[in-house]
Amino acid sequence: MMIGPDLLNIAIYLPLAAAIGVALLPRDKEHLAGPLALAALLLAFVPALALYLGFDPALPGMQFAQDLPWLSALGARYAIGLDGISLLMFMLTAFLGPIAVLSSFEAVKEHRRFYYASLLALQTGMLGVFAALDLLLFYVFWEAMLIPMYFLIGIWGGKRRIYASVKFFIYTMAGSLLMLAAILWLYFDHQSRTGIYTFALSAYGNAATGGTGMLLFLAFALAFAIKVPLWPFHTWLPDAHVEAPTAGSIILAGVLLKMGVYGFIRIAVPFFPEAAMTAGWPIAALGAFGVIYGSLTAWAQDDIKKLVAYSSVAHLGIVMVGALVLEPAAVSGAVLQMVNHGLSTGALFLCVGMLYERRHTRLMADYGGIAKVMPAFAAVFMIVTLSSIGLPGLNGFIGEFLILFGSFKVWPCLALISLGGVILSAVYMLGMYQKVFFGPVTNPANKELPDLKVREWLCVLPLLALIVWIGVYPNFFLKRLDTAVNDYIRLAGGQRPPFSLTQEGK
């Protein structure tokens, strides 16, 4: 088969088809739900991989594009395609999906059919978001994906799962609804100017300026900022993460948060370059502030999952700086850092889940000395921790480095604030690591914990491999980004002027 839109569609919809299949399994075949889901996602990864390898980094614009009529009464079309940026996000999603499924085999015992069906449906929703080139289609995927996530948290979550799932749903949805209003406004505005009803993303470059443009930009920005989550719209995240089952956390941190930044890059900024030019700094400043804030709050946690959740606020904050600074290296870094954060935080949640499965607690105080009991696990966790704090040689460094260096040229102040996160991340992550893994084994319940099982190795190994791969040879990923990043910057109105370095008075 040609590497084209068909493969793209297969990659997107195979999980959904599998979701239906899994949901309809007879009750006595319930134990097959997990393996089936895993098989489907592994199978769906094949076309995704083919797309990745078949992607031509040199070509501008969208590849594997398809544009079919859909709702002609509205002018909405079924338009999908990938450019370098969405390609990476797409791959990340396709990659994390099977891992999330595999991680649930032992953790999830109840309503397995529904569980895996939700995970699979979620996968289609997320892949669709990254592939959609039509606003309405984008919005449909964007929101539809909330439903399975809501179930994942609400049914298989922890003690406060109901509060967390409802908060997650309403909070993220509330933001998106204003975006909906803005989409409608744009849609009719575009029609009144051109006579054409369309939702094509490409039709809305520089769609509005002035006060209107700013208002619309803010409507979009709010929706995306909540998803990121940008300070101060982040409080749904810790609750959702803490209560979500492991797979939910992996997907939530690994992919869902990226959709916010992706929204900025794909929609908010190119649609309203003028407003983004003005509001870019304040929003990025919130991001940079979030780096410090997220790190401090992470430091204050005694629940491992909550700590990781707050660290996400910090990580995504720095990504926002990179995405909005409109400097090619920083933008590339931001996109890569999204992948990195997906891998490292996904892996962190995975590891926390493994601990939780063994001890049913996430409080650091309940652990200590685990490195002695589970040496292999400790090593894995260490690598993941190091990746998360951006140790050079691992993936996290490449992204942070590019963002910091790129944004420093334009916003030195924000870059320096973000740099503070480099210090703090070591403080809270290593602090956590120490409390969990080092010291004597004081709690008798921890004495006999088994080390990693084969299934768990299968979950972490791909993640570790990528963590190292990106750190050592990031160009494999970066080179697919260049064209798309330049397109983005061009649509965003070009690079921002660097700050002046000239000697004063000379």
Partner: protein, 462 residues
């Protein structure tokens, strides 16, 4: 002429005659008679040839528009009639009367939507309402009687106001045709009286459509009435009322009305959704939700005449989801008190099919993609933006966000909660519910199927 008249009356007769039969036959057959009649009428309208006939001038019009509206009413009525025997309360309903009154009410709705004459509309409205008063009390329980009487009192109150409005409108305009409302803005004298009179007329339908501040009866009546009747009131009757209201509104097309309706829409959405928040009874919650949905619909009015496809489509998906939800309540309830959120606990484990369907309906009502409710809402709000009321859309989306809370509380109860008492044995889920579920699930993705015919019917709007 003769054939034309038959074309026109056939659907009405196909409903009315079996209804009368249902009154006469053994109770066990009544449901079947009524259902067959409604289905036959539905098929007749669907597959009967293209029509554009007005045998009585404006008094009765059968055109593509009428056909669309009738399909909506007939579909809703059929679904309710078909699902009623599955309801927990079915046994306590007097079958003959029930299956007579409900189709007759539907006939009234059909007539109401087919006439271009205000008097005709009013009389048809009474044909709709009088059976409903009785239906609300059909179980002859205290709550039913209270619901019936409240509905009756306030309905009559509204009817009187409508007549007064018609009188003033006629007095100032000199005609009782709906389309003559277009003349209001051109009147040299008595324009104020005409527009006030017309507003009185509209208030009568606003009452039926449950717009704030005419909505207060809704929660009480929906709660007290048998659940299938509530389903009918919330779907077919509301659809009829909203459609007439839309017709009146766009016929007058007065800027002043736009302003007034702007506020009514905003208040309705806000009040309906906010009042639903603390509810624990599912029926009452759905009642408030139906109030809120009337507000959403009114938002679409801001787009004027061209908003018809959006309003129509929304009504269709709203009616489907509402019938679905109320029917599930009707099936699941165990006594007259109805289903509470606690009562839904553990449903997902006990009866996953019903829980899944309820989820689909509720999420559609909440307007979450990819369910039809989202597309309906999307296109409805689009009309308001097109009509220059983006502010109302902002209120609407905020209200939608608020509504999520109580919709989710239903789903949460079904899925996240554990049942306190062992669940009742699982019952089969009726095919009709599955069909409605499929429609709600997929109807939005194929919205063209509804929007395009509705757009084609636009020229027939007076």
């Amino acid at each position: 002429m003769e054939k034309n008249l038959l074309d026109l009356t056939a659907p009405l007769l196909l409903v009315a005659v079996p209804a009368i039969i249902a009154l006469l036959v053994r109770p066990a057959w009544a449901a079947r008679a009524a259902g067959i009649g409604l289905l036959a009428a539905f098929l007749n309208v669907s597959f009967g040839g293209p029509a554009n006939i007005m045998p009585f001038g404006q008094s009765l019009v059968y055109d593509p528009l009428t056909k669309l509206l009738w399909l909506l009413i007939l579909g809703a009525a059929f679904a309710v009639v078909d699902l009623t025997p599955r309801a927990d309360c079915a046994a306590s309903l007097p079958a003959n009367e029930y299956y007579f009154l409900l189709p007759i009410s539907a006939v009234g709705l059909m007539a109401m939507l087919a006439t271009g004459d205000l008097i005709g509309v009013f009389i048809a409205l009474e044909v709709v309402s009088l059976p409903l008063y009785a239906l609300a009390a059909a179980r002859r329980t205290a709550a039913g009687a209270e619901a019936g009487y409240k509905y009756f009192l306030l309905g009559s109150f509204g009817a009187a106001l409508t007549v007064l409005g018609i009188a003033f409108f006629y007095g100032s305009v000199g005609s009782a045709l709906i389309q003559s409302a277009a003349a209001i803005s051109g009147l040299k004298v008595n324009q104020a009286a005409a527009s006030a009179g017309f507003l009185l007329i509209m208030s009568g339908f606003a009452f039926k459509a449950a717009l704030v501040p005419f909505h207060m009866w809704v929660p009480d009546v929906y709660e007290g009435a048998p659940s299938p009747v509530s389903a009918f009131m919330a779907s077919a009757v509301k659809a009829g009322a909203v459609l007439i209201l839309f017709r009146l509104f766009v016929a007058a097309d007065l800027p002043l009305y736009y302003k007034v309706f702007w506020w009514v829409a905003a208040l309705t959405m806000a009040a309906g959704n906010i009042a639903a928040l603390p509810q624990t009874g599912v029926k009452r919650m759905l009642a408030y939700s139906s109030v809120a949905h009337a507000g959403y619909l009114l938002t679409g009015f801001m787009g004027g005449k061209a908003a018809f496809p959006a309003v129509y489509f929304y009504l269709a998906v709203y009616a489907a989801a509402t019938i679905g939800a109320f029917s599930l309540v009707a099936i699941l309830e165990k006594d007259e008190k109805g289903v509470t959120l606690d009562g839904l606990r553990g449903l997902a484990a006990a009866d996953p099919a019903k829980a899944a369907l309820m989820t689909v309906f509720v999420l559609s009502l909440a307007g979450i993609p990819p369910l039809a409710g989202f597309f309906g809402k999307f296109w409805l709000f689009a009309q308001a933006v097109r009509g220059g009321s983006p502010g109302l859309v902002v209120i609407a989306v905020l209200a939608s966000a608020v509504s999520l809370y109580y919709y989710l509380s239903i789903i949460t109860a079904m899925y996240a909660g554990k049942a306190d008492v062992p669940a009742a044995p699982r019952s089969a889920t009726p095919l009709t519910l599955w069909l409605i579920g499929a429609f709600v699930l997929l109807g939005g993705l194929a919205a063209d199927f509804f929007l395009l015919p509705a757009a084609n019917a636009l020229p027939f709007l007076p």
